[in-house]
C-alpha cells in the first residue's frame, strides 16, 4: 500500500518557504473556487444529482469537516471516545434558532453565545464523567446525546417535533448576502471557520496542551504521575471539541432555516466518528479528507437510490480493511521532529 502520508510529508518537507506559501495559496484558491466547479464541463463530474452541488459543499461537506475536526480533538488527540457529539451540534443549532427568532440578535451575535453554551455543556458533561474511561465514557456520552435530543423533542421552547422554522438568515458579510440563493457565500464562511479551527489545533498540538492530550491518550496513569493535570486537560479537550460542534450548529441553523429534532440523531454522532476513523484518527488532513469523502460520496451516488447506503457501507468496510488506521494515519511524530531538529 502506498504511504500517502509520508509521500505528502516528504514532498512538503522538501520545499522551501516561498514554495510552500505558493502551494498553500494555490490550494486555497482552488478550494474556494470549488462551488463553481459544477458550471464547467471539465469539472462537472463533481456535480451531485438531485441535491444542489453548492448546498452539498456547505452541508454536509463543510459541516462534517468542521465537526470531524472538533471530534478529532476529543477522540483522535486525547483518546476519549465520545458517542454523543451531535449534542453540541444540536445545542449550537437550537441556540441560533431560538435566539434569532425570539430576540433581535442576529446570527453573528448569537455565534459566541452558541459556542459558549456548547462549551459549558461540554464542561458540565465532562466534570462528572471524564473520570470514566473507554467504554464507560462512550456509554455516558451516548446517553448525553440522546438526553439532549429528547429534551429538545419534549420542550415547548424548541418547538418539539416541529422544530423551529423561519430562522432568519445571517446579515451580509462584506456586502455579500447570505441566503438561499447565495450558498457560495456560506461555503466561504464555513471555509474560513475550518481554516481557523485547523490553525487552532495546530497551535495546540505542538505545545503543552497537545503533549498533555497525547500523554493522556497513551497512558493516563503515567500521565498524571508525570504531573499532567489530566482531568483539566480532558475537560479542555471536551469543551474545545464541543465549541467547534456548537459553532457548526449555529451556522447550520442559519443555513437551513428550519431545524427539527430528527436532524440530531445518534446517526450523526456515528457518522462524524466514522469521518474521523475513516480519514485517520489524530491527523488533521486525514480527518478533513475522511469527512469530505463521507459527506460527498453518498450525495454523488444518489442515482443508485436504493442501493446507495449499501454501496456506501461496502466502501467503508473495504477501505477500513485495507487501511485499518484510516486513509492518512496519525503523523509519525518521530520523523516530524527529527526533521525539525535538522532544519533548526
Amino acid at each position: 500500500m502506498i504511504n500517502l502520508r509520508d509521500k505528502g510529508a516528504d514532498l512538503w518537507e522538501g520545499w522551501n518557504r516561498p514554495k510552500r506559501i505558493t502551494f498553500v495559496f494555490a490550494l486555497l484558491v482552488v478550494i474556494s473556487l470549488l462551488p463553481f466547479a459544477g458550471n464547467f464541463s471539465f469539472s462537472s463530474f463533481l456535480n451531485t444529482p438531485s441535491a444542489s452541488y453548492q448546498d452539498v459543499l456547505v452541508y454536509p461537506i463543510g459541516m462534517f469537516i468542521l465537526m470531524a475536526l472538533g471530534l478529532n480533538i476529543v477522540v483522535g488527540k486525547s483518546g476519549l471516545l465520545d458517542l454523543g457529539y451531535v449534542a453540541f451540534f444540536a445545542i449550537g443549532a437550537y441556540t441560533d434558532a431560538i435566539l434569532t427568532t425570539k430576540t433581535h440578535l442576529n446570527t453573528w451575535q448569537v455565534m459566541p453565545i452558541g459556542i459558549a453554551l456548547a462549551m459549558l455543556s461540554g464542561v458540565l458533561l465532562g466534570l462528572p464523567t471524564l473520570r470514566l474511561r473507554g467504554d464507560y465514557l462512550a456509554i455516558v456520552t451516548l446517553g448525553f446525546g440522546e438526553i439532549v435530543r429528547i429534551v429538545i423533542l419534549n420542550s415547548s421552547i424548541t418547538g418539539g417535533t416541529n422544530g423551529v422554522a423561519s430562522i432568519p438568515n445571517p446579515p451580509s458579510v462584506l456586502g455579500q448576502k447570505l441566503d438561499l440563493n447565495h450558498s457560495v457565500n456560506f461555503f466561504w464562511i464555513v471555509l474560513v471557520m475550518i481554516l481557523l479551527v485547523i490553525w487552532m489545533i495546530r497551535r495546540f498540538t505542538v505545545r503543552r496542551p497537545g503533549r498533555a492530550w497525547e500523554a493522556i491518550r497513551q497512558d493516563e496513569d503515567v500521565a498524571i504521575l508525570m504531573g499532567v493535570p489530566i482531568l483539566r486537560y480532558k475537560i479542555w479537550s471536551f469543551s474545545i471539541g464541543a465549541a467547534i460542534g456548537g459553532a457548526a450548529g449555529v451556522i447550520f441553523a442559519a443555513k437551513v432555516l428550519v431545524i427539527a429534532p430528527d436532524m440530531f440523531t445518534f446517526n450523526v454522532s456515528v457518522l462524524i466518528l466514522s469521518c474521523v476513523v475513516f480519514g485517520g484518527m489524530g491527523n488533521i488532513w486525514g480527518v478533513v479528507f475522511g469527512a469530505t469523502m463521507l459527506a460527498y460520496v453518498p450525495q454523488r451516488i444518489r442515482f443508485i437510490t436504493n442501493a446507495r447506503e449499501l454501496v456506501f457501507g461496502l466502501v467503508l468496510i473495504i477501505v477500513m480493511n485495507l487501511r485499518p488506521d484510516g486513509i492518512l494515519p496519525r503523523k509519525k511524530r518521530e520523523k516530524l521532529s527529527a526533521r525539525k531538529e535538522k532544519s533548526a
Partner: protein
C-alpha cells in the same frame, strides 16, 4: 496500607534524608512497590500518615504530589511509546509551566519562552543520561536499556526533589549496572534525593547511604549497608530460617 483483608504495609515507619541514596530492599511481595505507590498517591493510605518536606501528602492528587517534587520510574517500563524521547521528557517538564491553553493558542512570549527552555533542558537531561542521540526516536523504538534511561530522564524532567527508582537495573548486564550506579551517584551529587528499589545487592551495597529492608509489609532493618548485610533477621528473610532455629 491495606487492600481489603490483605495488610500490605504494617506499621512501616521510614524516612528518607535529604541528599541521600536510600535503598529499599526485600523479598518479592514485601511491599516495596506498594510504598512507592503510597508515596506517589496511587494508593490512598488506609491509616497512618505521610509527609514530605514538612507538609502532609495524604489525600493529595497524584499530579500535585509530582509538582511538589516527587517523581518516579516504573518497574516495568511505561514510557509514552508514541512520543519521541525528547517529547517524553518535555511532557514531564510541563508540570511547572505557567502557560496553558491560551498561551499555546496565541503563542504568548511566556509560552514561547517556556517551550524553548523546556526543550533545552530536556536535551540536557537526555545528554546527562547519555541518550541524547535518541532524542528524536519514538519511545517504543528505543532499545530496552535506553528506555529505562529515558524513564529516569523523564522523571528528572519534573524537577523532583525526591526521585523514586523502581528496579532501575532490572535486565541490565554488569557493564550497564556499573554505568547506572555511576549515574545514580551523579544524580545524588546534583542535589536530588534518591529512594530506590533494587534486587541487585552489589549495586545497592556500592552506592546506598542507607538500606531499608522490608519483609511481609514490615520493616525489619534500617541501617548502613554493611550492617544490614550481616543482620540475622535480613539473612533469615532472604534465605529462610532452618526449622529448629525459630
Amino acid at each position: 496500607m491495606q487492600f481489603g483483608g490483605v495488610r500490605a504495609l504494617d506499621e512501616v515507619n521510614l524516612h528518607v534524608n535529604k541528599g541521600e541514596i536510600c535503598a529499599l530492599i526485600g523479598p518479592n511481595g514485601a511491599g516495596k512497590t506498594t510504598i512507592f505507590n503510597v508515596i506517589t498517591g496511587v494508593y490512598q493510605l488506609t491509616s497512618g500518615s505521610i509527609s514530605f518536606q514538612g507538609s502532609d501528602l495524604k489525600g493529595l492528587k497524584r499530579n500535585i504530589i509530582t509538582k511538589r517534587g516527587i517523581a518516579r520510574t516504573f518497574q516495568n517500563v511505561r514510557l509514552f511509546g508514541d512520543m519521541t524521547a525528547l517529547e517524553n521528557v518535555i511532557t514531564a517538564s510541563d508540570v511547572h509551566k505557567k502557560s496553558g491553553l491560551l498561551g499555546a493558542l496565541f503563542g504568548t512570549p511566556r509560552s514561547r519562552r517556556e517551550e524553548r527552555e523546556s526543550k533545552a533542558r530536556a536535551h540536557e537531561l537526555l545528554e546527562f543520561l547519555g541518550i541524547d542521540h535518541r532524542a528524536d526516536q519514538l519511545g517504543k523504538n528505543l532499545p530496552y536499556g535506553d528506555q529505562r534511561r529515558l524513564e529516569i530522564a523523564r522523571a528528572l524532567g519534573t524537577e523532583p526533589k525526591l526521585l523514586l527508582l523502581d528496579e532501575p537495573a532490572a535486565g541490565f548486564n554488569p557493564a550497564e549496572k556499573k554505568a547506572l550506579a555511576e549515574t545514580i551517584l551523579k544524580i545524588r551529587d546534583r542535589g536530588y534525593t534518591v529512594l530506590l528499589i533494587e534486587h541487585d545487592m552489589s549495586l545497592i551495597m556500592g552506592i546506598s547511604d542507607r538500606v531499608i529492608v522490608l519483609d511481609f509489609g514490615q520493616k525489619i532493618a534500617d541501617d548502613l549497608p554493611r550492617n544490614v548485610q550481616n543482620d540475622p533477621k535480613v539473612i533469615a528473610a532472604y534465605l529462610g530460617v532452618p526449622a529448629d532455629a525459630s
